[in-house]
């Protein structure tokens, strides 16, 4: 019997191998992680819902398969933390909002289905900014999540629950969604790995929509290989999502097993630097560029002038789409209903429910988006933002004529203290400066740890960006960088995190 503290430090690949070889059972692994959650989640608050019985039942099914001599998949029996934005027919799905408190959907999201089909053990649902709107998880209606590196700091957002679950060793794998950086920025500030696949790479069916043309589900893990294994399990064409890409999934696992940057051209974009970047972040980023050179990459400086407009365009497109996507929360069919005392009109009940059920940031964006789509303003706001989107896509296209991947800091600063930016939406929005252009263009990107900022000892993320449908390049480069850093540090970065 391996002890809990050893099991929880294992990577997903290691767990799967040990279960397959019979060294560990899926139940042992699940129990270890449930015990870890029990021990630390009161402090971290990564989870909104823990499905103890469901997880153990899934684990027992894996062990039974193993006992019956069936071949196990590459992630069979590995525990996972699922962002509470994916529908689950056996667990509540709240999207971090009061308006869906207690709602148990009648159907599983495609991602949920694929995880179950891969025999992944779903431990529970993780905390998030309400409707994925935020960069700190402070906008959750169920309270903030702490960053395992320093519980008084934010774990990033919107997927702070998923990143914190990984960094606190509550789960070796997690699922996030990335509309403007909600997978990558949390990964960066918690010293974990997060990937936003190419738009259309992972089905959005059953993923509660924030901004349909930007939302993309993806894998979160502690290593590049684990992220690739999870990526492969959830990606691929889904006939229920007409924006899903009908093409083979890029060979991400193969790329992660064969990390190399030898002979690659790596771009550094001028626009991803300057004012607002923390010194320690810039320092670690520059070291990463030097490392890439030393590993055989050629560095190319790039100018992508439209990137400067990304944040503004994003904050017109995302709220516009959300104002329409969130209109369905009207108290008629599901979720919260306030003020239905038999005397009020449906309109009043809808208004009272939305007043009570939506948080400030959600309301702010609904109002902003409603305004931007209004006749007379459409061309100036939504229309212009779509033009900027085209320009950014062109900048990327031009850039990728010259380079194979682009690198940048994932986010301009390390984890900031809880409460510091809560009342300053503009400061909060700046956290997504480097991640947003990728969402607007629809291509793929990864964040992985590149060290601790000297001034605060907190993790810094390196972002790698690849062209659409070349997700495998992220893993090829990421695996090479990861290996070189681990060799340099002598251990994975998370070893340096304080024990909880």
């Amino acid at each position: 019997m391996t002890d809990i503290s050893t099991i929880i430090k294992l990577t997903a690949a290691e767990i799967a191998a040990k279960i397959a070889s019979g060294e560990l059972t899926a139940v042992e692994v699940t129990e270890a992680h449930l015990a870890r959650i029990e021990a630390v989640d009161e402090k971290v608050h990564a989870f909104l819902h823990i499905d103890r019985e469901g997880a153990l039942a899934q684990a027992r099914a894996v062990d039974a398969k193993k006992a019956a001599g069936e071949k196990l998949g590459p992630l069979a029996g590995v525990p996972l933390a699922l962002k509470d934005i994916f529908t689950t027919e056996d667990m509540p799905t709240t999207v971090g909002s009061k308006i869906l408190e207690g709602w148990v959907p009648p159907y599983d999201a495609t991602v949920t289905k694929r995880l179950k089909a891969a025999d992944v053990v779903i431990l529970g649902k993780t905390n998030m900014d309400e409707f994925a709107m935020g960069s700190s998880t402070e906008n959750s209606a169920y309270g903030p999540t702490g960053n395992p590196w320093d519980l008084t700091r934010i774990p990033g957002g919107s997927g702070g629950g998923s990143s914190a679950a990984l960094a606190s060793f509550e789960a070796p794998l997690a699922i996030g969604t990335d509309t403007g950086g909600s997978i990558r920025q949390p990964a960066a500030v918690t010293g974990t790995v997060g990937v936003k696949p190419t738009y259309g790479g992972v089905s959005r069916y059953g993923m509660v929509a924030f901004s349909s043309s930007l939302d993309q589900g993806g894998p979160c893990a502690r290593t590049v290989l684990d992220a690739a294994l999870l990526h492969e399990a959830i990606a691929g064409h889904d006939p229920l999502d007409s924006t899903s890409i009908d093409a083979p999934v890029p060979p991400v696992v193969e790329a992660a097993r064969n990390g190399s940057v030898q002979g690659m051209r790596v771009g550094v974009v001028k626009q991803f630097s300057g004012e607002g970047y923390q010194a320690g972040v810039v320092q670690r980023f520059n070291e990463s560029v030097e490392l890439l050179k030393s590993l055989g990459a050629t560095i190319v400086e790039l100018d992508c002038p439209s990137f400067d407009l990304g944040l503004s365009a994003y904050y017109l497109i995302a709220p516009s789409e959300c104002s329409s996507n969130l209109a369905r929360f009207d108290a008629m069919r599901y979720g919260l209903r306030v003020g239905d005392d038999g005397t009020r009109s449906a309109e009043d009940v809808t208004a009272l429910t939305r007043e009570a059920g939506f948080g400030d940031e959600v309301k702010r964006r609904i109002i902003l988006g409603t305004y931007a789509l209004s006749s007379g303003y459409y061309d100036a706001y939504y229309g212009s933002a779509q033009k900027v989107r085209t320009l950014i896509t062109r900048d990327f296209e031009k850039a990728f004529e010259q380079v194979d991947v682009i690198v940048s800091p994932t986010t301009p600063t390390t984890a900031f203290p809880i409460g510091e930016r809560a009342d300053d939406p503009m400061a909060m929005y700046l956290a997504d400066l480097c991640t947003i252009p990728t969402n607007l263009a629809g291509n793929a990107a990864m964040s992985l740890p590149c060290g601790l900022a000297p001034e605060d000892g907190l993790p810094v993320g390196l972002q790698i960006i690849a062209p659409a449908m070349k997700d495998d390049r992220l893993y090829k480069v990421g695996a090479a960088v990861e290996a070189a850093f681990v060799e340099k540090w002598g251990h994975p970065l998370l070893e340096e995190a304080p024990s909880l």
Binding site: T87, T93, P239, S242, T243, A346, Q386
Partner: protein, 464 residues
Amino acid sequence: MTVIDLESYEDALATYDPVMGLEVHVELGTKTKMFCGCSTELKQDANSQTCPVCLGLPGALPVVNEIGVESAIKIGLALNCEIAEWCRFARKNYFYPDMPKNFQTSQYDEPIAFDGYLDVQLEDGEIFRVQIERAHMEEDTGKSTHVGGATGRIHGASHSLLDYNRAGIPLIEIVTKPIEGAGARAPEVAKAYVAELRELIKALGVSEARMEMGQMRCDVNLSLRPHGREAFGTRSETKNVNSLRSVERAARFEIQHRGVALDLETGGTIVQETRHFHEEDGSTTAGRIKDNAEDYRYFPEPDLVPVAPARDWVEELRKGLPELPRLRRARLKEEWGVSEHDMQSILNAGAVDLIVATTEVGAPADQARKWWMGELARNANETGRALDELGVTPAPVPAALRFRPGAPPFRLSASAAGFPGPWSRRRSSRRCGSAAAARSPPSTTASGVCPVPACRPRASCRRP
């Protein structure tokens, strides 16, 4: 209901020219809904034909029904429209409890078909060309039943019941350009247009287009302008006028009603409003005032990829178009040797296709016509049923005619002749009974993206 003073029809027309716009919604006879795999069959049990997609549950996504697109293209082609090489769906945002997502997935500035026309024949034989602005695809809403009030309208009701079985059923909205120059014949043109459109839809096999069942619904927009003036007047929109006779009456009523309103006008403009049509007396009453504040905040639907019908597919569909109903009627009239008046009766009785089918199985035309237009037509009329709802099919008719040579072709006791009880009430299926519909593959939506390569979006159009 308030009593409205109406100007006489002649007085109104002495001063004003009517300008009409007709908007017709056709419910398609596809097996499944526009964006999900739910059946479109009419069911009594409320909310029994629903799924996460048509209920608009969080996370659910639409997928376009290929047969819906094909039907839209057929309608567009039959109306002499251009078929868009590339078009998108758009979201029409407004709140109403029977609309699950609080936006309707529709088309806005990029309709699948546009710039066409339909020639319609008036009673004196004159052909009037109605210009078509567009035909676009959209989804139907659910149905609200307001309980506890006197009128069945929401005002005064104690509560409302919502049934989403209809939500997501495919609709094609066909919009005319302003119809000018019809003068006193405007109501007749309106009726003839809707009648011709209905025949066309039926001939295409894309819908049964039964107005009494709401499969075809008409909005009559009407404005008046003084003779000689270019600019259009302020219009009224009379919603859900659901029979041919009502279309004519509504247009007539509004000409008189608007005439009064304009006469009373003291320099300002009269209000643009939505009006309700009353079947009982053919009048209309004011609904909501429509001002320019109504803003649907249209934007391209990001959950659906653009529709880019391949040109060869469109051409294939064009080749398969049936003979236009107007031309077919002229040909049959000639072949059967009947008068214009008799042909009109056959048409009104809904007997054209039945007579054709009966001649196709071997009956002489005149006998086939007498068979259907005699006792059967009378019975259908008296019992308020359609001729093809009586349970009598054309196949056994020639045998029955031979069985009693020289005798009157049909007697009430003729059920002994071996066809299913003609008078048993059989519920009609909303399914389109034509061969074309029967050939349709079951559901494209259940399996998602259109299986026909022709309908798939171009790779470069994947993202909005």
